[in-house]
């Protein structure tokens, strides 16, 4: 602030007064005051409970009375429980079965809408995004009607009587469908924005060099979108491990938890919670976190890796 400015007397007085006020208030203090409500809430509501949860995971505690130290027993019990593995398999299935279709579809839609072939972008954009604002709970309830065995529209269109929601072999695909249906709008918007940041001159240059539309897409657009893709896949993976609403509301009757053959990992946390096995419930949470870390790490490695090869 040391620029010399021609000042009038009044301005000089004001500046002096302001400086004094500032020094008294402590410039240094201000930012800490601004961040403290957030940080304090965050510590109280997230960091603190997370630490408590970590400690709890080594005990058996039913919410009252005393807590018994168990060492790693909770973790051992979980990884030897077949329901844990079933639910883990389900979670990974829901994740992998939906993410590729979701990302490809959302990206292609974005490419299409962005291209010059489509002029009414501002009509299509919100309409494509719209499914994402609906609560997954409400959508799952509607899907129960649509996928009914005897009278659902899907079966009447296909002329079949497939027990979409009763046979878990089919029901898990309905969950995948719901995840894709719900998620396309979100990633479509993100990809569209990402595409818009690509300098059109780069694409023009490629056209001039004789590249077809597909070649342009593959060799120019995709590499430039790489970071967006990495971001998308990692965020979606984290979200996929936390899945809860879709399988449960689609299949379970009223507020109860779905059968383990359909259930995601969070169901184990919930069923332990409801049985007042808080130590075990906490341990499930930390196992979930560990899985998220591992999966994210490998995703980064893989996606960064392919990028470096391409370059």
């Amino acid at each position: 602030m040391g620029t010399a400015k021609p000042v009038t007397t009044t301005q000089a007085v004001v500046t002096l007064a302001v400086r004094r006020r500032r020094i008294r208030w402590g410039d240094a203090l201000a930012p800490y005051l601004f961040i403290s409500p957030f940080i304090l809430s965050f510590i109280t509501l997230f960091i603190g409970p997370a630490i408590y949860s970590f400690v709890l995971s080594f005990f058996r505690y039913k919410g009252y009375g005393s807590a018994t130290f168990l060492g790693l027993d909770n973790y051992k019990a979980i990884v030897t429980y077949h329901v844990f593995w079933t639910e883990l398999r389900n979670t990974i299935f829901y994740w992998l079965a939906h993410v590729f279709v979701l990302m490809i579809a959302a990206f292609l839609l974005a490419v299409l809408v962005r291209s010059t072939i489509i002029s009414r972008k501002n009509i299509y954009k919100p309409l494509i995004f719209l499914p994402n604002i609906l609560a997954t709970v409400a959508t799952a309830l509607v899907f129960q009607s649509l996928f009914g065995t005897e009278y659902g529209v899907i079966n009447s269109l296909l002329g079949t009587k497939i027990p979409w929601l009763q046979d878990y072999g089919y029901a898990r695909w309905v969950v995948v469908f719901l995840l894709i249906w719900h998620g396309i709008g979100w990633w479509f918007v993100i990809y569209l924005a990402g595409l818009t940041t690509i300098n059109p001159e780069v694409e023009e240059a490629a056209t001039v060099d004789g590249a077809s539309g597909w070649q342009r897409l593959r060799y120019v657009t995709l590499p430039l979108m790489r970071n967006t893709f990495i971001f998308a896949f990692v965020i979606d993976a984290i979200g996929s491990f936390r899945i809860f609403n879709e399988p449960n509301v689609l299949v379970a009757r009223g507020g109860s938890l779905a059968n383990p053959d359909m259930a995601p990992l969070l169901n184990l946390l919930m069923s332990d919670l409801r049985s007042a096995r808080f130590g075990s419930s906490a341990a499930v949470g930390w196992i979930l976190f560990l899985l998220v870390l591992v999966v994210s790490y490998f995703q980064f490695r893989i996606m960064r890796g392919t990028g470096e090869e391409a370059e």
């Binding site: 208030w25 201000a30 072939i117 604002i133 609906l134 009278y151 529209v153 993100i190 940041t197 984290i238």
Partner: protein, 294 residues
């Protein structure tokens, strides 16, 4: 740059090009229209089914009602003392959470974006890192704590854990970084207090991002299911979306009352759709701001 290369490109006759392009335009528009109609079909069905009787939904779930009726909407008011109470719970929880949450995030984002202070980057990086930790990890301890405080089935238990969002912080900081610092400096010279810098300068200037965050935050809390399910036991205190999957015949129980459920879904979705239609751009820009430059 382009002119020198023109001869190297195989030229189609411009007429063929135009026809091909016209076909492409029509095909693309048809495709997108069909896509949109299919994608919005469940929403449409939700709406239609809310005007059917419970038994018609079971026999005719997918097409226009044979008999239009308002019974389901009336049932919303009669069901177990009135489902409108659950709408009120949803509204109070969502609005309070949004106001408090956005406020906290805005203040912190301002400091991270416009101030230099010791530990700033380290703290911010640490906060970002926590985004990897699934929020559900805090469910068992928070349940125990709230339970011991006798805060089950209370507004504070529904609201408090939803308030801090690192995503929101990130989003607002991102935007505030792009607000010219000169603006702030000028205000400081004019004698503004730090609070005034925030409230009178930064907040109005960041209105687009703050608005976008508010909308996304509201939507997130309004649509949430797991946490309210955990922390409420009494039906009167459950947000509407938690009650809906559970709604059974008021007299004999057990049987889902599909008409009432659909009507409830429509009413629960309506506020979000209205906000969306009014603030489309904000909605979608909110999604983007946090993501693209990440």
């Amino acid at each position: 740059m382009m002119s020198a290369q023109t001869s190297a490109i195989p030229q189609k006759s411009s007429q063929r090009y135009r026809t091909e392009r016209q076909i492409a335009v029509i095909a693309a528009n048809v495709f997108l229209t069909i896509y949109v109609l299919l994608a919005l079909y469940p929403l449409f069905i939700m709406f239609l089914n809310s005007f059917k009787s419970d038994s018609e939904i079971l026999s005719n779930p997918s097409y226009l009602p044979h008999v239009w009726t308002l019974n389901s909407y009336q049932a919303i008011f009669k069901y177990h003392g009135g489902l409108w109470r659950n709408f009120v719970v949803s509204a109070i929880v969502s609005v309070t959470s949004t106001v408090v949450g956005v406020f906290l995030a805005a203040m912190a984002a301002f400091a991270f974006a416009k101030y230099t202070f010791k530990g700033r980057d380290a703290i911010f990086a640490a906060l970002l890192a926590t985004m990897m930790v699934p929020g559900e990890i805090t469910i068992p301890p928070l349940y125990i704590i709230f339970s011991k405080l006798h805060w089950l089935d209370t507004y504070q238990a529904l609201i408090i854990p939803t308030v801090t969002s690192v995503f929101g912080l990130f989003m607002l900081r991102q935007y505030m970084l792009s607000v010219p610092t000169a603006l702030i400096e000028a205000a400081r010279i004019d004698g503004a207090s730090h609070w005034q810098l925030f409230w009178n300068i930064m907040v109005p200037t960041s209105a687009p991002a703050i608005g976008a965050l508010a909308i996304l935050h509201f939507m997130g809390v309004w649509n949430s299911y797991l946490w309210p399910l955990v922390i409420t036991t009494k039906q009167e205190m459950q947000p509407i979306l938690v009650v809906l999957p559970n709604m059974t015949d008021p007299i004999i129980g057990f049987l889902p009352v599909w008409g009432t459920i659909m009507a409830g879904c429509v009413l629960a979705t309506l506020p979000i759709i209205i906000v969306f239609i009014a603030f489309q751009d904000k909605f979608m820009s909110g999604v983007v701001v946090g993501a693209v430059k990440g």
